[in-house]
């Protein structure tokens, strides 16, 4: 009896530990998705801008709260992309898109890995729950036998 109680407590502890891990992974997954979407949005901007015919198109510069100032793109051939460590490089639109694609691929790989790890954890959590249920059932059975 005491033994199975101890086993149950151990399972509950393990369950909590794994659950915390799973929560962390789920948070990571969300952040990774947000990050990837940002890169995808920039890529789309560059791709669409390439299709604009004017050489120096008039644009609206967002200043927040749905408000804008009028501006003009003076260089429709190059973009400046951040490469980390506080540095950014001027790249042609095509090179910039290639660079963004590489980053997006990295995000996709990281997302895949995180998803796999999360699935793995969820499987383990299910196994633990099943084990705990089994112990509880056995306990209940013993109860009945003892009552007789």
């Amino acid at each position: 009896m005491a033994q199975s109680q101890e086993a149950l407590e151990k399972l509950a502890y393990e369950y909590q530990l794994l659950q915390a891990q799973a929560q962390l992974l789920a948070q990571n997954l969300e952040l990774l998705n947000l990050g990837m979407n940002e890169f995808k949005a920039v890529k789309e901007t560059l791709e669409k801008l390439k299709e604009v015919e004017e050489e120096k198109p008039e644009i609206l510069v967002p200043i927040g709260a749905g408000s804008f100032l009028k501006g003009q793109i003076i260089d429709k051939n190059n973009a400046i992309v951040s490469i980390g460590a506080g540095y950014a490089i001027e790249k042609s639109f095509d090179d910039a898109i290639k660079y963004l694609d590489e980053r997006i691929k990295e995000y996709e790989d990281a997302i895949k890995r995180t998803q796999d790890a999360l699935q793995n954890l969820e499987q383990k959590l299910q196994d633990l729950a099943r084990k705990a249920q089994k112990i509880q059932q056995e306990q209940a059975m013993k109860f009945r036998v003892q009552k007789k």
């Binding site: 400046i80 490469i83 980390g84 460590a85 506080g86 540095y87 950014a88 490089i89 001027e90 790249k91 660079y99």
Partner: protein, 117 residues
């Protein structure tokens, strides 16, 4: 759980403090490793571009224009600093691990001695 002798309790307290220190060192190490990777990637990207490519550097809230050579020099300096910090942290980690191992053995021996006596 029997009573734990005061000497062993003191050792356990020490062990806990070492473990906390180790945790801190590991966290710092991870941060340095992330920065190190960041710098390495940036160097890799800058090395790929032509000599006259415009490169910009974040300075507080501003972004200032610089060039390939200057940025590579700066980043390589940063890389070196980070590597020195990483190896210092690694040494600290190793020392703490040794201390923890030693203490654990001491505690185990003390407890065993207590049981035997």
């Amino acid at each position: 759980m029997q009573n734990i002798p005061p000497q062993v309790q003191a050792l356990l307290g020490q062990l806990e403090s070492y473990q906390q220190q180790l945790q801190l060192v590991i966290q710092q190490k991870q941060k340095v490793q992330i920065d190190l990777n960041d710098v390495k990637k940036a160097i890799e990207e800058i090395e790929k571009v032509e000599e006259d490519t415009s490169i910009y550097k974040t300075v507080g809230t501003l972004i200032v224009k610089t060039n390939k050579q200057k940025s590579l020099d700066e980043l390589k300096d940063k890389l070196e600093t980070l590597e020195v910090r990483l190896s210092a942290l690694e040494r600290q980690e190793q020392k703490l691990n040794e201390k923890i191992k030693e203490l654990t053995q001491k505690i185990q021996a003390a407890l065993r001695g207590g049981v035997a006596g």
